[in-house]
């Protein structure tokens, strides 16, 4: 008896939505500033296409869904794949066991090369040795700078998180900072912890760690505000991802604090904040380059037998600093989501 009302409103809802959208468009609700129209269309980095026969490469990362950083890595890999006539198979799972299964999946597909991140090296050990048995070259990227050789990978592209943290710590010394809070958006993540540890190592002032709930921005904002209120001595907030740095600017205002903000990793809004001066500087590990080099190296190995880093040393993509002095040069690339 009452089933008639939902059935009727089911038809009404989309109809109303359509009507409203159409009416609003007709009413001239277009925005005179911002928006897609004002966005400059810029071409991505491309360097033609190789005439070598097509090869298939799998990129298997520990990305969690919807992460800006990994999106940039993937774009780099796609750019290299397009240039090298490579068919790229991208897959990811933050769970180490699942990531190992995805590598096994790539082996089963008989790919010509595998690029893999080593966030949890032990879980991937067995499956990587299976790849060598199947004579598939494997390179590492992003995480695992101290383990890649032990696991028998060919090459490695990335930044040493501890080294990056140390570099940031030194930079804080130069800035004359006394007390820094290092904001971790995912409790228990090894790479993030290493960054904060690195900062602690070189920074002559005191470093405190603050855990926040990274999936809920209002909560991140409140928690950083709370920390700045609790400890008025904090003069630097160090975040480990670009979106969190942007949120931290609001916390600083809310807490009436004078703390400055530094961060790891970039995105296009962050470059704007650096040129405006609301964020002091960012450590950039060039994720796009990591993805690009990982794929390109496998192509070079297949077509010309090359080893990047000589097969002995990791190829470091960071830490590169972006601050007011060089942000203009980087901003255009960040806007395209490649830097």
């Amino acid at each position: 008896m009452d089933s008639s009302s939902p059935a009727r409103s089911r038809r009404i809802v989309p109809a109303v939505a359509m009507a409203a959208a159409v009416a609003l468009t007709l009413a001239g609700c277009s925005s005179s500033s911002g928006g897609k129209k004002s966005e400059e269309s810029a071409d991505g980095a491309s360097a033609g296409k190789a005439s070598t026969p097509q090869m298939t490469v799998a990129l298997v990362t520990h990305q969690s869904p919807g992460d800006t950083f990994w999106d940039i890595v993937r774009k780099g890999a796609e750019a290299a794949a397009a240039k090298d006539n490579v068919k790229l198979i991208y897959s990811a799972d933050p769970n180490a066991g699942n990531q190992a299964n995805l590598v096994q999946n790539a082996i089963d597909q008989k790919v010509d090369g595998i690029a893999v991140t080593l966030a949890k090296p032990d879980a991937l050990k067995d499956v990587i040795s299976k790849a060598s048995t199947a004579k598939i070259p494997v390179v590492g990227l992003n995480s695992g700078v101290s383990e890649w050789q032990k696991l028998g990978l060919m090459e490695f592209f990335g930044q040493d998180e501890t080294v990056a943290g140390e570099a940031l710590g030194k930079r804080l010394n130069e800035a004359g900072a006394k007390k820094a809070v290092c904001v971790i958006q995912e409790q228990g993540n090894i790479g993030l912890t290493q960054r904060c540890d690195g900062v602690k190592k070189t920074f002559t002032g005191t470093t405190e760690v603050l855990n926040v709930n990274g999936t809920d921005m209002p909560s991140v904002k409140s928690t950083i505000t709370a920390k700045l209120t609790q400890d008025k001595a904090i003069d630097y907030v160090v975040t480990l991802g670009a979106p969190f740095a942007l949120t931290a600017t609001q916390s600083v205002t809310d807490a009436g604090s004078k703390a400055k903000i530094a961060t790891f990793d970039l995105n296009k809004d962050l470059t704007g904040a650096i040129s405006k001066g609301t964020i002091e500087f960012a450590v950039d590990q060039q994720p796009w380059l990591q993805g690009y080099l990982a794929i390109d190296s496998l192509w070079l190995y297949k077509t010309n037998g090359n080893y990047m880093g000589g097969g002995e040393q990791p190829v470091l993509t960071g830490p590169a600093f972006v601050d007011k002095s060089n942000v203009a040069a980087v901003a255009a690339f960040a806007a395209k989501g490649t830097r």
């Binding site: 939902p6 409203a20 928006g35 897609k36 869904p65 919807g66 409140s222 505000t225 709370a226 609790q230």
Partner: protein
């Protein structure tokens, strides 16, 4: 089930228990018991205990601006905990509530940016989309008779994937573009994400909305026919149907109410942070449900209040920020949060048992 369902109106219906004190001791005693019997009293005492605890251990909490910050955090949880609580009283769950917030924010942001339209267009379309998702959840639950746990687990996964895939498809990034320079933004920011000054303390407007929504929800629940329907469909669907309660209508509108809440919180996030990350919101649904349960809403439906989840959300905000204000070792953060919440729930339970035993 039917007992609790029955108990609720009985507790709330006596007009004013206070004025006539002719019975002396017995009257006073029954008033106290009656008070203890209310579902929100336990959580009120729990919240008060947590508040006093941090007042003692964390000096910055005594400051007005700290309280404003704690209440802000509570309000962003609380605005969603309200409709989630009403839905639970109505006997259903919504696991998609966390990511639905992000879906709404993404819709508004991408629509106005990509079509270069006034942001209000995006805001209105997002409202329709959110209500639509709520409607679909409710309609599927009513139509199939499957547990809402399953249906909304499905929509949770769908929305999570759609959030990511569509954002990537449209913006070529996993976050939306900055809309802060677009027409209507400042206006919308005033509505959804402004703050005002109270004695030198900046208070976020979401706190006001939270309390207003809670007042409205309380009134609806206790004073309107629709409120009775909610208790009835949550208590016993079949007998509710037998006495002429429109079960399908009630359940579907409750799901749509959750959609409304998701839209509201989503708009707040959009106009506070200018951009939205497509991967956010996962796990928030459990926090909303917890706030409702801590606030005295039965997991089985049929009992609860609108004011209880207000204290439940406050407790979450208080504990989460209180730990930081106290300057405790952050490694223990989640453990502290868990212990505090369990403790508060125990107080809640003890109060309710004491009230019903006598």
């Amino acid at each position: 089930m039917s007992m609790t369902h029955h108990a609720e109106p009985a507790v709330t219906s006596p007009p004013a228990p206070g004025p006539k004190e002719s019975d002396g001791r017995t009257a006073r005693r029954s008033l106290a018991l009656r008070l203890l019997g209310r579902p929100e009293v336990g959580v009120f005492l729990g919240a008060a205990a947590v508040y006093v605890f941090f007042l003692i251990t964390a000096p910055p909490v005594r400051d007005g601006s700290s309280m404003a910050n704690i209440l802000y955090q509570s309000s962003t949880i609380g605005i969603m905990a309200l409709p989630v609580a009403l839905l639970m009283i109505g006997g259903e769950f919504d696991l998609s509530a966390g990511v639905a917030v992000i879906t709404s924010a993404l819709t508004a942001s991408m629509l106005s940016y990509q079509l270069t339209m006034n942001v209000w267009v995006g805001v209105i379309v997002a409202l329709l989309v959110s209500l639509g998702i709520g409607f679909l959840n409710g309609w599927l639950v009513v139509r199939t008779g499957l547990p809402s746990f399953l249906i909304t687990l499905g929509s949770f996964l769908i929305l999570q994937g759609v959030n990511l895939a569509v954002t990537k498809l449209v913006t070529e990034n996993v976050a939306t573009d900055d809309i802060s320079t677009m027409d209507g933004f400042d206006q919308a920011k005033k509505v959804f994400a402004s703050s005002f000054d109270v004695g030198g303390v900046q208070v976020k407007i979401t706190i006001v909305y939270w309390l207003v929504f809670a007042a409205i929800a309380t009134w609806v629940l206790l004073r309107t026919k629709y409120g009775n329907w909610i208790f009835a469909v949550g208590g016993n669907k079949e007998s509710a149907r037998a006495v002429g309660v429109p079960v399908a209508f009630t359940k579907i509108t409750l799901f749509m109410l959750v959609g409304f809440g998701a839209w509201f919180v989503g708009m707040h996030q959009l106009f506070t942070f200018n951009t939205v990350q497509s991967g956010e919101g996962v796990g928030q649904e459990l926090i909303y449900i917890s706030a409702a349960v801590i606030g005295g809403c039965l997991l089985t439906g049929g009992a609860g209040s609108a004011i209880g989840p207000v204290f439940g959300a406050f407790m979450f905000g208080m504990v989460q920020q209180g730990i930081v204000y106290a300057g405790w070792n952050p490694d223990w953060f989640k453990a502290f949060l868990g212990v505090m919440l369990l403790g508060a729930v125990m107080i809640n339970l003890w109060v309710q048992r004491t009230a019903t035993r006598r």
